[in-house]
């Protein structure tokens, strides 16, 4: 059994998770990464996706996050999510609304850079939708 470390998932509204975990899979902006105890210090932005938490007691929990940051140090990992919900509680209408907004953003973008950014965000959202809705 792997060593446990402290993991915290915080959204602006509340502290969702603060417990000892074995491993966390984070949807980093430059690829997914699994964080375990004694990870080298990393700071990364995260894209919309699913965070999978494997707790010290062996349970697996999944949360949907919409962008944010992860601050990883050997002693623990803090995930600052712009918005986070447990996968079981996800509101489909809310997700659909976000996708709709992202589409509008992409359509309204003034320059190429903003457009590609908006489109990237949109594709991340649709991937996310595909990943969680059948579940």
């Amino acid at each position: 059994m792997a060593e446990a470390f402290q993991f915290e998932l915080v959204s602006p509204e509340r502290l969702l998770v603060s417990e000892q975990v074995e491993a966390v899979v984070i949807p980093g902006a430059e690829g997914e990464m699994t964080v375990m105890a004694h990870h080298a210090p990393v700071m990364t932005t995260i894209k919309p996706g699913v965070v999978t938490v494997k707790t010290a007691v062996g349970k697996e929990e999944r949360y949907v996050v919409f962008g944010g940051f992860a601050d990883i140090v050997p002693a623990g990992c803090t995930l600052l999510a712009e918005s986070a919900v447990a996968v079981g509680d996800i509101d489909r209408a809310d997700l659909a609304r976000r996708i709709q907004e992202a589409k509008e953003d992409a359509a309204d973008a003034k320059d190429d850079q903003a457009r590609s950014k908006a489109e990237q965000f949109l594709s991340q959202l649709t991937t996310l939708e595909g990943a969680i809705l059948p579940a």
Binding site: E30, P41, V42, M43, T44, F69, D71, A75, T78, L80
Partner: protein, 295 residues
């Protein structure tokens, strides 16, 4: 001199008012608890955000690649004031205190020859400020329909501010809100959010467990340019939450006072009422007795 009937009516109406203020006080107390919980729940995020921000600014150092939101435009000609107040009145001096602080600030800025723009959050502040500075108000954000304050509300305000900044609409942005100290004390506060002051490095020491070398994904500058707008949203959110708690606290004590005043008034009116009733009885007795004596 009001008649007995008038007095009776007045006592009844003051009693009805007292019932209302009492109910409002209790509602405010319940809402205050919820608002306080929300403010407390939001605290970890803003604390961690501060720590992360301090850490990353340290990493970037004094390099010139810090985003403009942080360093400012280098001028201070145009000021944007975001004045956050409550949507409803009946909460003592809560709204007028914030508005007064903002107004003093505006007067000073105008006297210095600066240009001032205002964004009002909440109806009451707008009502007060538009009397003197209607032409300066750019926009007002209405949160009347919002039942529970969410991060999205704050985010929308912050986006508005940031867009304006990117268009070169202003140089310095100050947020006005009321800091929640306790139920009886809310302190109107002005906080500069753009350019964001660089947080002290002291906070980092405790969080990164010895000055370990961080890896950044993507580059620190890129993270920072993503982080700062978010930090502004967080600051706005915190201000709104503090305001919500403060409003309820102020309303609670205002309504408590009103209830007590109504009680005092009822006592006074009852005394007058009883005296008059007694006077009338005495008068009638005198009439009867003097009538009997005359016989």
């Amino acid at each position: 001199m009001p008649s007995l009937k008038d007095l009776r009516n007045r006592i009844a109406s003051v009693k009805a008012t007292q019932k209302i203020t009492k109910a409002m006080q209790m509602v405010a107390a319940a809402k205050l608890r919820r608002a306080q919980e929300a403010a407390e729940a939001a605290r970890p995020y803003s604390e961690r955000m501060g720590a992360v921000l301090a850490n990353i600014t340290q990493a970037i150092g004094d390099g010139g690649d810090a985003p403009a939101l942080m360093t400012g435009t280098g001028k201070d000609d145009v000021h944007l004031l975001v004045v956050c107040t409550a949507e409803r009145g009946l909460c003592g001096g809560f709204n007028s205190q914030i508005a007064r602080l903002a107004r003093d600030h505006i007067r000073k800025l105008l006297a210095d020859g600066k240009q001032v723009k205002i964004i009002c959050v909440g109806k009451k502040g707008f009502d007060i400020l538009r009397r003197d500075y209607a032409s300066l108000v750019l926009d007002r954000v209405d949160l009347r329909e919002v039942k529970t304050l969410g991060f999205v509300n704050a985010d929308a305000i912050a986006k508005k501010v940031i867009n304006l900044f990117n268009e070169g609409g202003f140089d310095i942005c100050t947020l006005f809100y009321s800091q929640f100290k306790s139920v009886i004390s809310q302190i109107p506060t002005a906080q500069q959010i753009i350019p964001a002051g660089v947080p002290s490095a002291a906070a980092t020491e405790t969080t990164n467990g010895g000055n370990a070398v961080y890896e950044y994904e993507p580059e620190p500058g890129e993270i920072l340019s993503d982080l700062i707008p978010r930090n502004i949203s967080v600051q706005v959110f915190r201000a709104l939450l503090e305001n919500a708690a403060g409003e309820m606290g102020a309303k609670m004590s205002a309504m408590d006072n009103a209830t007590r005043n109504a009680g005092d008034m009822i006592n006074k009116l009852s005394i007058t009422y009883n005296r008059q009733r007694q006077a009338q009885i005495t008068k009638e007795l005198i009439e009867i007795i003097s009538g009997a004596e005359a016989l």
